[in-house]
């Protein structure tokens, strides 16, 4: 899927909108795009369906549209959609995937590798995710590898992968985004660079929630809380129940020294809308841990 150097990538806009999660833009571009070859069409559809997979309203479209006769790439997307949409079926999907992975895998089918890695990543099985991604060399595979590595706190390895990406195409949107992720993880002077990357993209395309939250993360890492407030407010205006925005606001309001009630409002908003979010799962786990640990302490004399 890597863009061929030199020639114009007709799917550029679609990919771009996809990577920066600019879904409105995405739909608009999508409808106006006429792929020149069937391969491109498959690729285009792949982006569409992947984008639809998490949307509870649209996953049905994915399930219906991708028939048994569709290309193996799209089958992979279907598998992912199935995983995303139905919590009950997840174990079955993962089991099936494990079987497939045990057999030899068509390495050329990058989409399959990506989708497999995505599922494993959701399952917090980063070993399998990395194993799957290891077989691909495309920018997408590398970018996902970087993300997995970052979640493993292996910035050192992530940097190596980033270098590979930069050798492939330094100016590609994915490379730029990956650079920003790594820079945030590295911290220090690199934070400014990360911020500029997000800023530049939102100037160039449009400020999406992804880009705004990235900027906010940079600001907050810089301890520039007031600046972060502006960015997050913009994000909140775009979508008032976006989980990452809310999480960042929970962080921010406390650092700004706002009353605890403000923070709690965002927290309950998050609890209402995104019960399954990883943040909340962690949060609840921590609450239980606290209760457990608190039991270990007691005053010498109780009244």
């Amino acid at each position: 899927m890597a863009a061929q150097q030199g020639d114009v990538d007709e799917l550029f806009d679609v990919k771009n909108a996809y990577y920066i999660s600019s879904y409105q833009q995405f739909n608009y571009i999508f409808s106006s795009l006429q792929p020149s070859t069937p391969e491109k069409e498959v690729e285009r559809d792949m982006f569409l369906y992947t984008a639809y997979s998490w949307d509870s309203q649209k996953y049905a479209v994915v399930m219906d549209d991708i028939t048994a006769s569709a290309s193996p790439e799209l089958q992979a997307v279907k598998m992912f959609a199935e995983y995303c949409s139905n919590e009950g079926k997840r174990d079955a999907v993962v089991g099936e995937l494990d079987k497939k992975m045990a057999k030899s895998v068509d390495v050329a089918n990058t989409t399959f590798l990506l989708m497999a890695a995505s599922i494993y990543y959701h399952e917090m099985n980063s070993d399998s995710a990395l194993r799957s991604l290891h077989q691909g060399e495309s920018l997408e595979c590398l970018a996902m590898t970087i993300q997995v590595l970052l979640s493993l706190e292996r910035v050192d390895l992530a940097r190596k992968e980033l270098k590979k990406m930069q050798e492939q195409d330094e100016d590609a949107t994915l490379t730029q985004l990956s650079t920003a992720w790594v820079n945030i993880a590295v911290g220090g002077e690199k934070l400014q660079d990360a911020y500029y990357i997000f800023q530049e993209m939102s100037d160039k395309y449009s400020p999406t929630l992804l880009l705004l939250n990235g900027q906010a993360a940079c600001h907050m890492a810089h301890n520039k809380w007031e600046e972060a407030e502006g960015v997050l407010q913009e994000a909140l205006d775009k979508d008032s129940s976006h989980p990452e925005t809310l999480i960042n606001l929970i962080v921010l309001t406390q650092h700004l020294g706002k009353a605890p009630e403000v923070t709690n409002r965002y927290l309950s908003q998050l609890k209402d809308a995104h019960r399954a979010h990883r943040f909340l799962k962690d949060y609840l786990a921590k609450e239980n841990e606290f209760d457990r640990l608190a039991m270990q302490y007691a005053p010498t004399v109780t009244v």
Binding site: G6, V8, D9, S21, T50, A51, F80, C84, Y121, S126, S128, L130, R131, H134, A143, Q147, L149, L150, S151, L152, E153, R154, V155, D156, E170, L177, A185, G187, G188, I197, E200, M201, D203, K204, L209, N213, A216, A217, A221, I247, V251, Q254, H255, G257, T263, L267, R278, Y283, E287, E289, F290, D291, L293, A294, Y297, A298, P299, V301, T302, V303
Partner: protein
């Protein structure tokens, strides 16, 4: 050379610039003198009185005069305002070559050289003799009494004319002289003497001129040479010769400001010479025209040259300063310095010195705010030699003597930033290179043919080719859009890059981000520069105007300019600009007009209305404009004249207003037009009124018919009858179906047979019979009645239409509403003025008084251990890390993929790096955090901390999205991100001492309001938060301790008070206990406001108990606090009462003079020296039996626990 203006005419022999106005005089070989405006490119006037060639021409510096001298031996003085020759001077006996005003002398003095071998000075009555051939040129020295002359006798002479000046001091003499001139003989010959004779030319000298400031002379001669001469008081000598012309040099002048000489020649060229190097710098050639004369503008960088077929006005180089604007900063180049101007503070500083080495000025600039770097492009005469420099602007700079950083120079026509760390270069092969900050080529991009590139936001460029501009995406390497516009010179983006203005020489095109043309403006005068104002109006300048353009295409003049300026920014009514001397200036403009139009276009009618009401906008032009642009409803607002009002109202379909106007006018035409308009809208009541007013009975009748208004229709029939309008009458009857009426009408008008038939057909037999009888059967025949005839009756209206036709409900336009509401506006404004009575706020701001003291010293020693532990942790972690990466590396080499193990997360590092509980909470390590709190401040019951822990945890991690459809990544804000490195990170805490202190105020307010339980809760929350602080210095540590003390005192006092209020007060003992507690309360350290309240309570209770002595002590303490006057007065009264009997009636467990601590559990005093147990966190005191219980104040700590002590700063571990 930049040609600004060219004319076609007969050979130009003389030229003179006007010192102030953009005018130039050209005297021609055919005797005509032309006055041109070179900025507007128009011929202003022509003066044709000379016979034969006119060679001498000169503007007067102050007065509206000029002088000319011709081959007809005449000198003429003209007034260009009056447009005529004032007088003619005769006296020369040969061709007159040059004429000049003497510009120092108050009276005008003329001088000329004539083709005879004399130089004569008219009016000053002198003739200079000495040359022995024709004199070709003579000029005054700009400041001294000197004249230089050039002659065909191969010499240049300098004359001293001071004698002449002295002789000429009386202006009266001049007048008479002017008239008295009749011949050369009249003048004396000794007023001027030759000072220097400059010999060196081998042929006749055509021109000689003084340098404006230095003692230099330049001359040009038929020997094809230009010579520079120097002179002092005693002598003059030749400095150098410029060789290069290959035909007679006709004229040579000094550049008024630069070290340059310009000369022109019959070899059809103009040459520029460097004065210090004496070498040719530039040469401009014409194909067919020999040059004859040169003129230099006295103030501006402008020159003019006359040749065989006209003249041209030109300048040697661009005067546009290179500048770039970012936010509030203007960067511009001036005198080899890059300067920075802050628009807000007007602070102008030189930030950097540029590398010298280019003789050309900087052509353009591109600024990169992210890296604080600039690209400066320099254009050479030969485009291929153009270069650009990349500089990083130094961060710190001394304004007086700024650094000269080493830039990176490469060849290239233009360089423009395309991203934070990338710029595009258009190289001389016209291909596009992308380079990084090290000036290394990153990639080459194939572009459509282009001759210039411009900035177009991140990742994009505008490419200019011969007939258009293309928006090009550098990353995708493809064109996104193209727009046709010839020769764009500059591109100005709006601040949000949503719009762009493309400026060409005589045209402006405004496009949106996608390069779709929104409007095109043509200018007759050169477009110079522009900037977007914050409301989206493009403000631009031409050579002589500041103008505006809206994106809708509306444009107009804002004000005129004397000299061209370069707009850098527009804010409100200020236009920031640079002038040609690179001086930043601010001009004020009146933005009303374009604001008004903008508001109209954006349909911000309330703004429009505001302007209409408050600005002086009214005028025919604005009404015409509004009408033309389709805003009749707005125009309606301006108009008072009823006629215009009427037509505007019709235009916008406002029937009510039109009706009002029509009533006022009451003209037939108006009513007719209104009727038509109303009919179209179905407004039939108005239509009816119009028809009535215009007495249009036919239409009225028909209107009644179709609206089914039978009563009125009948009335109309009656009216028709009265008016003797038979056909109208009959028609009415027909419409009404009134047969008998019809019969009657027919009968009356003699149509007997018709009447009979009508009657018979409709079965009115009697009537028919009667009619039949009237027939004279001999002459007439009774018509046959058709038996099949049917009765035709108009259908009766089912539902007569009384109301108007229903219209779609359209919300009333803002202006219609505004017009209607005009009268009411005043009332509403008055309503709003009513002021709500302001409540008395909580004025008492109890400020926390904090003192710095050094009691922390004792604790310093304790820190040692912690430090050692930390070091140990670091070492261990390092070795582990090495191990990990080694393992991962080996796995990759083998070909088998071994997934890497989990790395050390920043949160783990936080725990390793800190012994402060909050850092552990933030890291999510509750276990260690609890242990620390337990060890440091003795927390044993963590329940109340749950909320705090969870909140703290939740602010420890931000998140950002990675790939779509994957869970987000986590960021870990660190408080020491600047210097943490990879391993020394510490979390950003987010809880500040100052915030906690600020929260105290809230607690104080609750206390004042008497909401004790809430207040206690809040105080406790603050108290519990203190151990979760991180502070930087000793003072803050002390403040944190003090904060704990304050909270403790309040919590103890307030809980005791709450307790007290619950107690019964029936028996004396109970009352005594109450009084005791009230007394103890006065020993909690509280804010004065609260202490006043507490003391008053105690005072009252003790007074009632008749413990006057103690009561008196309370009263005194109360008065010391300076309470409000009424309280003070009351207290004094009580005090006076107490002092009468200064005894206590009852013995209480309270001794105000013996210092004590209060047990926070039993509320009994613990006098000094008695055993006491303390809470490790709050420091609250308890009687020994309470040891081991949970502290009443904190509710989390164990009383009397042995602990390390509060740790809120890394300082405490050192």
């Amino acid at each position: 050379m930049l040609t600004k203006f060219e004319t076609k005419s007969a050979r130009v022999k003389g030229l003179s610039f006007h010192p102030k106005r953009p005018w130039i005089l050209a005297s021609l070989h055919n005797g005509v003198i032309q006055l041109w405006d070179y900025r507007m490119c128009t011929l202003i006037d022509k003066f044709d009185e000379h016979d034969g060639p006119v060679r001498g021409i000169d503007f007067h510096k102050q007065q509206p005069l000029f002088v000319s001298g011709g081959d007809d031996y005449k000198i003429k003085v003209w007034n260009y305002k009056l447009r005529r020759c004032l007088f003619t001077l005769l006296g020369h006996l040969d061709y007159i070559r040059t004429t000049f005003f003497h510009h120092v002398s108050p009276s005008f003095t003329l001088k000329m050289a004539s083709l005879s071998d004399v130089i004569s000075v008219f009016l000053s009555c002198s003739v200079l003799t000495g040359h022995n051939h024709y004199v070709m040129c003579a000029q005054f020295h700009p400041s001294e009494d000197l004249v230089v002359s050039a002659s065909l006798d191969q010499t240049v002479r300098v004359w001293d004319i001071s004698g002449l000046r002295k002789k000429n001091l009386s202006p009266g003499a001049v007048e008479t002289d002017v008239r008295g001139i009749s011949g050369v003989d009249l003048f004396g010959a000794s007023d001027a003497v030759v000072k220097h004779v400059l010999e060196g030319h081998d042929r006749g000298v055509n021109w000689a001129a003084f340098h404006p400031t230095m003692p230099l002379i330049v001359s040009g001669a038929d020997d094809r040479q230009v010579k520079i001469w120097r002179m002092n008081e005693s002598k003059a000598w030749e400095l150098d010769t410029c060789r290069g012309h290959y035909n007679n040099v006709s004229c040579a002048v000094f550049h008024p400001r630069q070290e340059l000489i310009l000369s022109n020649s019959e070899d059809k060229s103009i040459r520029v010479w460097d004065m210090s190097k004496r070498t040719g710098v530039q040469t401009f050639r014409r194909d067919h025209d020999r040059f004859w004369v040169l003129g230099a503008h006295p103030n501006l960088n402008l020159f003019a040259a006359g040749h065989d077929s006209g003249m041209l006005v030109f300048k040697l180089e661009r005067e546009r300063p290179a500048y770039a604007v970012y936010g509030n900063m203007l960067y511009y180049v001036k005198d080899r310095f890059l300067r920075q101007l802050d628009f807000n503070s007007s602070k102008d500083t030189a930030v950097m010195q540029l590398r010298s080495g280019s003789k050309f000025p900087v052509f353009s600039m591109s600024y990169n705010p992210a890296e604080n770097a600039v690209l400066l492009c320099t254009r050479a005469t030969n485009l291929e030699n153009s270069t650009y420099d990349l500089y990083a602007i130094p961060k710190e700079s001394d304004s007086q003597n700024p650094d000269a950083p080493e830039g990176k120079r490469s060849s290239g026509l233009t360089a423009v930033w395309v991203a934070r760390n990338r710029f595009a270069v258009l190289d001389r092969m016209h291909s596009l290179l992308i380079k990084n900050l090290k000036n290394e080529i990153v990639k080459k991009v194939q572009v459509p043919s282009c001759e210039e590139i411009f900035y177009a936001g991140t990742g994009s460029l505008l490419l200019r080719d011969a007939d258009g501009v293309t928006l090009f995406d550098v990353q995708q390497k493809r064109s996104l859009a193209t727009v046709k516009i010839a020769k764009v010179k500059y591109v100005v983006w709006s601040a949000d890059t949503s719009h762009v203005a493309l400026l060409a020489k005589h045209a402006i095109m405004i496009c949106n981000r996608k390069l779709e043309s929104l409007c095109n403006i043509h200018e007759n005068i050169r477009v110079k520069s522009g900037a977007w104002d914050e409301s989206g109006v493009f403000i631009y300048t031409t050579s002589n105007h500041i103008k505006y353009a809206l994106t809708s295409g509306d444009h107009g003049i804002i004000r005129t300019l004397d000299l061209p300026i370069y707009v850098t920014r527009v804010r409100g009514n200020s236009v920031y600009c640079l002038d040609r001397e690179c001086r930043p200036r601010v001009l004020t403009i009146d933005p009303t007009e374009y604001r008004f139009k903008l508001a109209l276009v954006n349909r911000k009618y309330e703004e429009v209305l505001h302007m209409v009401r408050n600005a002086k906008l009214v005028g025919q032009s604005i009404i015409a404009y509004l009408q033309k642009k389709g805003y009749p409803e707005v125009a309606l607002h301006f108009v008072k004249d009823e006629k215009t009002r009427f037509s505007l109202a019709l235009e916008c379909g406002n029937i009510e207003v039109a009706l009002e106007a029509a009533k006022a006018l009451d003209e037939r035409g108006c009513w007719e037009r209104l009727g038509e308009a109303a009919l179209l809208q179905g407004h039939h009541q108005v239509v009816e009124m119009c028809y009535q007013r215009t007495k249009n009975f036919d239409k009225l009748t028909f209107l009644y018919l179709i609206t089914g208004n039978l009563a009125k229709l009948r009335k109309m029939m009656k009216i028709a009858e009265i008016r003797k309008d038979m056909s109208g009458h009959y028609q009415g009857a027909l419409y009404l179906g009134d047969v008998s009426e019809r019969v009657r009408i027919l009968k009356n008008c003699g149509q007997k047979s018709l009447a009979y038939l009508t009657a018979a057909t409709h079965g009115m037999d009697e009537e028919a019979e009667a009619l039949k009888e009237t027939f004279d059967l001999e002459k007439e025949t009774v018509p046959e009645v058709d038996l099949n005839a049917q009765l035709m009756q108009p259908p009766p209206p089912i539902n007569p239409l009384d109301t108007n036709w229903p219209l779609l409900t359209v919300s009333k336009g803002f202006f219609e509403g505004a017009i209607a509401a005009k009268g009411k506006a005043g009332q509403m404004a008055a309503d709003m003025d009513v002021d709500a009575p302001g409540g008395e706020g909580w004025g008492e701001d109890a400020e926390l008084q904090l003192e710095e003291d050094g009691f922390m010293d004792a604790q310093d020693g304790l820190g040692e251990e912690g430090g050692a532990a930390k070091e140990e942790g670091g070492g261990w972690e390092l070795s582990l890390d090495n191990l990990l990466s080694a393992g991962a590396g080996g796995g990759a080499e083998d070909g088998f993929f071994v997934p890497p193990t989990k790395g050390m997360s920043p949160t783990q590092l936080w725990c390793n790096n800190s012994q402060l509980p909050v850092d552990h909470v933030l890291a999510g390590s509750f276990e260690t955090a609890m242990r620390l709190l337990h060890d440091q401040v003795g927390v044993v019951q963590f329940g109340p901390y749950k909320q705090l822990f969870m909140q703290t945890l939740s602010r420890g991690r931000t998140c950002y999205l990675g790939l779509p459809s994957l869970p987000c990544l986590r960021g870990n804000p660190q408080r020491n991100w600047k210097d943490s490195g990879a391993k020394q990170g510490l979390p950003a805490v987010g809880l500040r001492l100052s915030d906690l202190i600020a929260r105290l105020q809230q607690c104080y307010q609750l206390t004042t309001a008497g909401r004790f339980e809430e207040a206690v809760e809040r105080f406790r929350a603050i108290l519990l938060s203190v151990p979760l602080l991180v502070v930087d210095n000793k003072q803050e540590i002390a403040e944190a301790q003090q904060l704990i003390t304050i909270c403790r005192e309040y919590i103890v006092g307030l809980t005791m008070e709450t307790e007290r209020k619950k107690l019964p007060k029936d028996t004396l003992d109970q009352q005594k206990r109450l009084c005791e507690m009230a007394a103890y309360f006065t020993h909690c350290s509280l804010q004065p406001v609260h202490m006043v309240l507490v003391l008053r309570t105690a005072l009252n209770l003790f007074f009632k108990l008749k413990n006057f002595k103690t009561a008196a002590s309370f009263a005194r303490r109360l008065l010391e606090l300076g309470p409000k006057p009424e309280v003070a007065q009351q207290t004094r009264k009580i005090l006076a009462a107490c002092e009468k009997t200064l005894t206590d009636a009852h013995q209480l467990n309270y001794d105000p003079h013996n210092p004590f601590d209060l047990c926070a559990a039993s509320y009994t005093p613990l006098y000094r020296g008695r055993p006491v147990e303390k809470c490790p966190l709050s420091g609250a005191c308890y009687c020994p039996p309470y040891k081991g219980q949970v502290c009443r104040v904190t509710q989390v700590t164990e009383i009397g626990k042995d602990v390390i002590g509060l740790r809120v700063s890394p300082l405490q571990f050192r």
